[in-house]
């Protein structure tokens, strides 16, 4: 598809289990973000990948959270030993990473998110 694809769209898990969330960015986009959004809340930044640079992990809330981006394309967000407070929608976004005068080349394209419910 032409857009950012996230899977699964919904995930229900038991407390203490590990989960993996997948993001397929738009082809050719060098920048990739993960955000967390609790019900009715804002976008909580988690991690940012830009090309071959070291990822900005400053938003990861604990060492239970990790993410990788293989081959500069697909990204996986892993949450280990899930807790009830991890329940949220996890959004992925990608961008071409560059902006040109007059062009919205740096626009972030978001997926529809993965809704995680931890029981």
């Amino acid at each position: 598809g032409a857009g950012v694809s996230q899977s699964p769209s919904n995930k229900v898990t038991e407390k203490g289990k590990d989960v993996e969330l997948r993001c397929d960015p738009i082809s050719g986009h060098t920048a990739l973000y993960w955000y967390r959004q609790s019900l009715g809340q804002g976008l909580e930044f988690l991690i940012y990948f830009q090309g071959n640079s070291a990822p900005d992990k400053s938003g990861l809330p604990s060492d239970r959270f990790s993410a990788e981006r293989t081959g500069g394309s697909v990204s996986t967000l892993t949450i280990q030993r899930t807790q009830q407070e991890d329940s949220a929608v996890y959004l992925c976004a990608s961008s071409s990473g560059f902006r040109d005068r007059g062009a919205q080349v740096g626009e972030l394209f978001f997926g529809e998110g993965s809704r995680l419910t931890v029981l």
Binding site: G42, Q104, G106, L108
Partner: protein
């Protein structure tokens, strides 16, 4: 210094009225200021954006006003419609591969 402060947190406007959402930033290195619109169950999508070399940008009923000296920018929605009910996020970026910084969001409800 990396923060973008957005207000109000929520806003209720009558149909046909003007919705105004404000944002302020500290880092003068920011050089691109987009606004994103998010409907329930969807990811945010770019609505309109401005560069600091202009003071205003208008696209249809949506206008960004930018005050470089005050380090503030705002979104105005003219003739607000119920279909505009959504969450709006302001953001700030700087050239060079730095991550986009988002405001906390404003939930807009337009009463019919």
């Amino acid at each position: 210094q990396q923060q973008v402060k957005q207000s109000p947190q929520s806003l209720i406007v009558q149909k046909g009225g003007i919705s105004i959402i404000n944002c302020a930033y500290e880092n003068t290195a920011f050089d691109y200021f987009p606004w994103y619109q998010q409907f329930p169950g969807k990811g945010p999508a770019l609505l309109i954006a401005i560069r600091p070399d202009v003071s205003e940008k208008k696209e249809g009923r949506f206008t960004i006003s930018f005050n470089k000296s005050a380090k503030q920018f705002s979104l105005h929605i003219m003739d607000s419609q119920p279909g505009d009910s959504a969450t709006y996020f302001c953001a700030a970026e700087r050239t060079g591969g730095f991550k986009t910084i988002f405001g906390a969001g404003t939930r807009l409800f337009v009463k019919a």
